[in-house]
Symmetry: C3
Subunit: 426 residues, 3 copies
């Protein structure tokens, strides 16, 4: 199975689960992830103070439907978990359509799709349904309404996978796990993060890599509240979300705007002239909002493909497994690995023969007569590394300035270091 197919298969396995910001859906999701990578699951009790917030009551669903007089379920949670307004309080009643209508949410512009709506932190109940189906309900009929949910003291659950490295500095990868059957907005990020952890698990690592799978907002806030010291060690970070649709990749910079991760991602996305987009930080989006709050100001950016809210399937039943493309998942994973390669290998070297160019030919590093285009690129990379390795420029800066791929520049630096022409700076 190709990497893209594996990532898609994980998304498919998680798709049916009804996730929310707390509850058994999150636990089931973390369980599936934990089958693939080493994952510690954390349970934080309801009522725990986390930064300015409090861990809410835990929410679970047994059943949820609207049935007509004949007992037929005209809206049925079992057919699609988006039908239930997230965090609905329990209700059991009979009522006319008129009374029910304020509790029904539809998308008139996309009549065949179920919208995704939630009502966290407020005592509400409701149903989401296709606008077309709403038209089929009968005004005069009395409906049976059942929201069989529980909202009780329990826990907020999140998972953490830590891959230790040679150095204490950490790379934080974060994906949210609180959306029900939404494939791109949720599962794609989970799948790519899981794929990353698998790929990095086998490597010799410089940084410690920490993967956080947590419900959006309250999960990141809970993690931050409990990990202030870890947060201080975060040298680079990425929120992964919406990384499975067929659009070109989009990188949203961290609040700092010029953090190494920002530069690494910009470099990697531009490589080969491939289509991509870069956006400045804004305090709207996913959990980069929390990581980049001014008290933390972590160097955490966000990788997406088409940004949230800019595709019609966003937060609707249209964001299904067909909307997510194995090739896009694999491409997203590849871009992350390429950026991580930059983070792992970024080094400032000092040219040990800085007066004039050293004689590369004598060392077998420089072509005599002729030479292939690839060899010319390697030679150019050596000349750039030598010229800019004055203690001020790291390999990434050299790649940026020369327009050469980071990998080429890093390879040239390695070769020069082997020949005693460079040394890495502390």
């Amino acid at each position: 199975m190709s990497t893209g197919a594996e990532l898609h298969a994980l998304a498919a396995a998680l798709y049916p689960i009804c996730r929310s910001i707390t509850g058994d859906g999150v636990r089931a999701t973390l369980g599936a992830i934990g089958e693939r990578i080493p994952l510690e699951v954390r349970e934080v009790p309801t009522g725990t103070a986390v930064l300015d917030w409090t861990v809410p009551r835990e929410w679970n669903v047994r059943d949820d439907y609207v049935a007509d007089a004949a007992g037929r379920r005209v809206i049925d949670f079992r057919s699609h978990n988006l039908h239930l307004l997230g965090y609905s309080v329990p209700v059991r009643a009979r009522m006319t359509l008129e009374a029910l209508r304020p509790h029904l949410h539809t998308l008139p512009e996309q009549p065949e799709r179920i919208p995704y709506r939630t009502a966290y932190y407020s005592e509400q109940w409701g149903f989401c349904l296709e606008h077309a189906r709403l038209a089929e309900l009968r005004e005069e009929e009395e409906y049976e309404v059942v929201v069989d949910t529980t909202l009780e003291d329990g826990h907020l659950t999140y998972g953490e996978c830590v891959l230790p490295g040679r150095e204490p500095a950490e790379v934080l990868i974060s994906a949210h796990v609180c959306h029900p059957s939404l494939a791109n907005d949720n599962l794609s990020g989970i799948a790519v993060a899981t794929g990353l952890a698998r790929a990095l698990g086998d490597l010799e690592r410089r940084h410690t890599f920490r993967f956080v799978f947590a419900p959006g907002t309250i999960g990141a806030i809970t993690w931050l509240a409990r990990n202030r010291e870890v947060a201080e060690r975060v040298a680079h970070g990425l929120v992964l979300t919406g990384v499975g649709d067929r659009g070109a990749p989009t990188y949203k910079r961290s609040r700092r705007g010029d953090a190494t991760i920002d530069r690494a991602m910009a470099h990697v996305l531009a490589e080969g002239g491939r289509e991509h987009a870069l956006e400045d930080f804004s305090p709207w989006g996913y959990d980069e909002r929390q990581y980049c709050s001014p008290g933390f100001d972590l160097p955490v950016g966000c990788l997406m493909r088409t940004p949230h809210g800019r595709y019609p399937e966003y937060h609707t039943s249209g964001d299904d497994l067909g909307f997510v493309d194995p090739a896009a998942l694999e491409d997203s994973l590849g871009r992350c690995l390429a950026a991580i390669d930059v983070l792992e290998r970024e080094t400032v070297y000092r040219n040990l023969s800085p007066h004039g160019e050293p004689q590369l030919g004598r060392r077998g590093l420089y072509g005599a007569l002729g030479g292939s285009a690839d060899k010319r690129t390697e030679e150019m990379a050596m000349l750039w590394v030598l010229n800019l390795s004055d203690g001020e420029h790291g390999l990434l800066a050299i790649a940026e300035r020369s327009g050469l791929p980071f990998a080429t520049v890093a390879r040239a630096a390695g070769r020069l270091a082997e020949h005693g022409l460079l040394e890495p700076l502390g």
Copy 2:
């Protein structure tokens, strides 16, 4: 009467007066302004040393004409005060057109318009007239030439209106009062400055506002020479000139280029995507030349509409009351008030809950389900203010970075401060 009509009415009242850099025309002008706003009139004696300059002799006009052999006035100051070369020394003579010709100034490209010319600081006399009329004068005729002016020790006159504020820092608004019947280049600035002083007179003020109505160049130099300590308190300033024509507004930055007034004006002019232009400082134009001389380097920009010299009516009799539009005057006043609103409310806040986003919903600051577009904008403004209020960014910087109007950002900050989430810094 609309604001625009009031501003235009003031210009109309001042239009017939023959102003120059000294003399009774300036006094009459300041008298009319003083009927509308509290104005102190200053008289500075001829011969007073002011910076590198000396206050010149005072100039006044009794009469001025050229009459033909039949005694008919072929050029007559009483029909238009532009006919007289400004600061002409007295003369009384009879001469042929040939002898007179070197003293006659016309605009061959605009034959129906009288040019505006002056001869300050040099002993000259002359007449300005329509090029078409010059063609009607007869070569062989002897003309009577009368320039009945006085050039004597007296005073240079300027006016000052000071509206005290809570803080010693001052906002300087400056308009020149030395041009005769020119409506845009002179009267529009006087009218808008007067309107500003009226509008600000009723408000609770943070800054002290100081309005200077003075003759161009020598007036600003005289004011600066006598107000060195005041100059040190000028935190923001604007020269107002040519603010009544139908062109889009143009803001010329101060010499500093990034003073708060420069940023405030740029922000205000761009609001709503309306047409406008921004120009860098140059040492050519109006009294910003003096305020921005390197020894003072005050943060004073210049608001215009079509810049001087870029419209054919400039410095001709075409710059009359019809050239100035009430709506343009009102728009200029509104832009100034908007920029002043930025200056008055600009504050650096500190987020008191900087770790993660504070829970706005709990405080009733954040919409639950749905919400109007306006409400979404208000929420975005709160998120931006929280994210950037790290002690480094003022509200204007937050407005610039977020692309939201300053007023929206300031309102959001006010609401957050009320809820104890922000505090203003020093």
Copy 3:
């Protein structure tokens, strides 16, 4: 004879000489230069350690040909010195075309041109020829191959012309002298550098001007190795190469990117809106590679017209005397002189009357009524100089910001200084 014709005549005189990185060709070239400007010729023995390199053995050519069975020379050094692979070791043999072929270099894309190839620092021999001529050689024939060269201990030769100035700071002008019959890539730079030295010889100089005529790479490295103290005094520098073709001038910035020479060249090339190109430094090109190596990091840029490698004649027999245009040579010389004028006259002045504008009219510096466009430009230049002479801005910065030519700005500063309004800063 026009200046352009004189420059072309020098190139023509040098064209037939077979230059390489050592040998009598360099000596003959320096001899011809030395007839025009005072030149010290330096001889550095084979084996001398220079930075990371060693001065190689000296190479000279007596004869070089391939003759057919009938004794006819089918490839003959005497007809074009590009036929010989540079630094070929001696060989004397009879061989079939098959055996000879690996030693033959052609340009299949330009079959009528002889390529230029060298084999420094490796023991090779070979011939370069027109691809069309290669086709005429007969497979079955046995050829007599004679490379009658010597490669022996001797010297590396370079020349230096020093024109002392009032101040110790130096301007370095460098041209390479190691290419055989190539007119643009070699002789154009030599000709313009020689022309510059002649033009500057007659002037009162502020800087010391040092012209280095040396073989590429090893020559610059040798010069740097022997002139570390001089290098510290280099305040500005230019490598001149490819300055004779008909393309627009191209300036490649120094490694620093914003050195005075970079700004001066950019200003001078842009003057009058003429076509030109600016490029950032890269560690590929001519001897700026050595001067801008990180251990020296000298402010040395490179003036070219069409950059090397971007015209088909580059490094072929097509780069002949017809490819080099007298007008282009003269234009290149003029640009250099204009940039040198900036370097020589660049001064930071202090406005001695910085509060308000000084009264220029009183000093006869400011037109009264009217005034020509030129006079207006002169007045604007004075206003700019006064406004920006706060001790932070030199004349070049004032020229850049005002958009006025440096010469106009410098003239205005001179006039203001004469009137006691400016003084130069230490």
